[in-house]
């Protein structure tokens, strides 16, 4: 167990270094950051001044090494837009994105798992087809389009929910639905196929031969086994939601890390973008590690090994 954790930790560090390096290179090499910061009407002298001030005239490797060294100590630099430490700004917005992600995941689970179970119990009936249809539509509609439709329908026509901002819990309903809807098909399919496979297994046949009640067979025996890969998927999906929240937060003007990322890109606030990319990557790596642990916890067969 200890070796396993150590190995994963090492992997996480390597991924962190690689992701930050690749991102750093991409961002610096994609254009001239100094020019982007200076703005459209800047003179060459002003651009050069900015270049020196931010250390952008040094060799790229040195710039990266400098950034990485500071990042190790927790210093992700200063945002040229806010004129404050990047870490502080992000910390202020992180809670909101996590809340949004959590609500979206909760929505996806509440919709997808029961649907997947129902579809597995009655395969090839109308229930199954409805579930598959919902899942298929969910995958096809772009999340931003779905968000806009929700706004028109629930925000404007029915006036039930607020359409922008993140001050009350009501503000989170539509964004959570828009963000979570995209994960629903994958979760539903995995639940359905997992349940189908488990329901056809020998130990379910044994459970039926023991005369156990339908509810006990379904939940105690079948779901308990079928849910194991789903839990891993959920952790991974949460990671994707944190990264994909950008579009939803922008539409609904939610003041989270995703919206911050979008604005920072528009403002060429590279230290901020760099830090956000690293943050999301690290979250993903931690979540996959966590999901492996969860897997081992849920499946006795893996535990002993």
């Amino acid at each position: 167990m200890f070796h396993y954790t150590l190995k994963r930790l090492l992997l996480a560090i390597l991924v962190a270094i690689t992701v930050s390096f690749v991102t750093f290179m991409l961002l610096r090499l994609s254009g001239d950051p100094a020019m982007a910061l200076a703005g459209e009407n800047a003179s060459p002298a002003e651009i050069q001044f900015i270049r020196v001030q931010y250390g952008l005239d040094r060799p790229i490797i040195i710039q990266y090494a400098d950034w990485a060294w500071r990042a190790l100590g927790g210093d992700f630099g200063q945002s040229p837009y806010f004129n404050q430490p990047v870490k502080k700004i992000i910390r202020g917005r992180l809670g909101i994105t996590m809340t949004l992600g959590g609500c979206a995941l909760a929505f996806a689970i509440c919709l997808a798992v029961p649907m997947g179970m129902l579809a597995a119990i009655r395969p090839n009936t109308w229930i199954d087809r409805v579930a598959l249809t919902i899942s298929v539509i969910g995958q096809a509609m772009p999340s931003f389009f779905f968000g806009l439709i929700l706004i028109i329908f629930f925000g404007v026509m029915l006036r039930w929910l607020p359409i922008s901002g993140s001050s009350t819990w009501r503000h989170f309903i539509m964004p959570s639905i828009a963000l979570g809807y995209y994960a629903t098909p994958a979760i539903m399919r995995l639940t359905r196929s997992g349940m189908l496979e488990v329901l056809a297994s020998d130990y379910i046949r044994t459970a039926r031969a023991k005369g156990l009640r339908a509810g006990s067979i379904l939940f105690k025996h079948a779901l308990r086994n079928a849910i194991i890969p789903v839990v891993s998927l959920l952790a991974v999906q949460f990671g994707f939601m944190l990264g994909g929240s950008l579009v939803i937060e922008t539409i609904f003007a939610i003041n989270g890390v995703g919206f911050l990322g979008y604005e920072s890109i528009a403002r060429a606030d590279l230290p901020m973008v760099q830090a956000i990319v690293l943050l999301v990557s690290m979250f993903y790596v931690v979540l996959t590690f966590f999901s492996d642990l969860l897997n081992a916890f849920l499946d006795p067969r893996i535990r002993v090994a």
């Binding site: 994609s30 806009l148 990322g261």
Partner: protein
């Protein structure tokens, strides 16, 4: 000894694998619907120069914000209405199909080549090669695609080429994962060992034995990534950092229509609907291929 007067016991004829495949394909409603819709959209894109009633870039400020044909003040001259700059929506829609399809196919091909190459060498050679490729895949998956793509395109500039290459270089992970596991499975199967035994070179084995057998999974993933690329481009364009105006990308049309969506919801509904239809048809076909070639997955 009894006479050998035997009444024939009727032997039941089960159909051949080829017949089963054809019958299944034609009977698979999802696949057929997806194929028909996709063909219609492709036709619309290819025939846009011929079929579109107007020039999609032509602005006529006197004819702004005309409603589509099903509203009270719609006309047949502009069946889907006009946008805020007086451009014909139907024509923009048709030309927009070209952009979505072009970017989708190109990004899919690029990412497919990268991912398949990486996946096959990882699965076939194993060992250190596999370790490196797996690490690359893990790193790529943990990077937030939308953020990175957005940042790079914003900095370089939103030309079609840039978008295609950025997307292509970012979405190869699923190709790699699937081809890697398929190749790993194939490695241990008998005919590869047999081919090695008669002295075929590694490249030969890879090209003629391993690759064709990975094809089914590859097709399914290709459709998924095709749809993925289309959605990504739409998102990038919607956020203003993708395809630049005046090009008629559907994502861009939705973004431009957002201001007016409360009074003229058709401005976002129409491109959004067609976008969804395109992605839907591709997904249906991908699911269909998966069902048809691997019936064990179905109940």
């Amino acid at each position: 000894m009894a006479e050998q007067v035997v009444g024939d016991i009727q032997e039941v004829d089960f159909p051949s694998p080829g017949q089963i495949l054809r019958r299944r394909t034609l009977a698979h409603k999802g696949f057929m619907i997806g194929a028909i819709v996709l063909l219609m959209i492709i036709a619309m894109a290819l025939l846009a120069p011929v079929l579109s009633p107007h020039d999609p870039y032509h602005q006529d400020l006197a004819k702004r914000m005309i409603s589509p044909i099903w509203q009270k003040d719609g006309t047949w001259e502009y069946p889907l209405g006009t946008d805020n700059l007086g451009r014909d929506y139907l024509s923009r829609l048709m030309y927009g199909a070209r952009i979505s399809l072009l970017i989708g196919v190109s990004a899919m091909v690029i990412s497919g080549l990268i991912g398949t190459f990486l996946g096959v060498i990882a699965g076939y050679f194993g060992g250190r090669v596999d370790m490196i490729v797996s690490f690359m895949i893990t790193t790529r998956i943990s990077m937030p695609v939308v953020l990175v793509a957005l940042a790079v395109v914003a900095l370089i500039g939103g030309s079609l080429n840039v978008i295609i290459w950025v997307l292509g270089l970012l979405i190869w992970d699923r190709f790699a994962v699937v081809t890697r596991s398929s190749t790993q499975q194939m490695r241990s199967i008998d005919y590869v060992s047999a081919a090695k035994a008669i002295g075929c070179s590694t490249t030969w084995i890879l090209l003629t034995e391993v690759l064709p057998n990975i094809l089914n999974n590859l097709i399914v993933v290709a459709t998924l990534e095709f749809a993925h690329a289309i959605l990504l481009e739409a998102a990038l364009s919607f956020l203003g950092m993708g395809v630049q105006p005046p090009l008629p990308s559907w994502g861009l049309m939705i973004s431009e229509g957002k201001e007016f969506m409360l009074f003229s919801p058709w401005m976002i509904a129409i491109p959004g609907f067609v976008l969804s239809m395109l992605v839907l048809s591709v997904n249906l076909m991908g699911d269909g291929v998966r069902d048809i070639t691997a019936p064990e997955g179905r109940s």
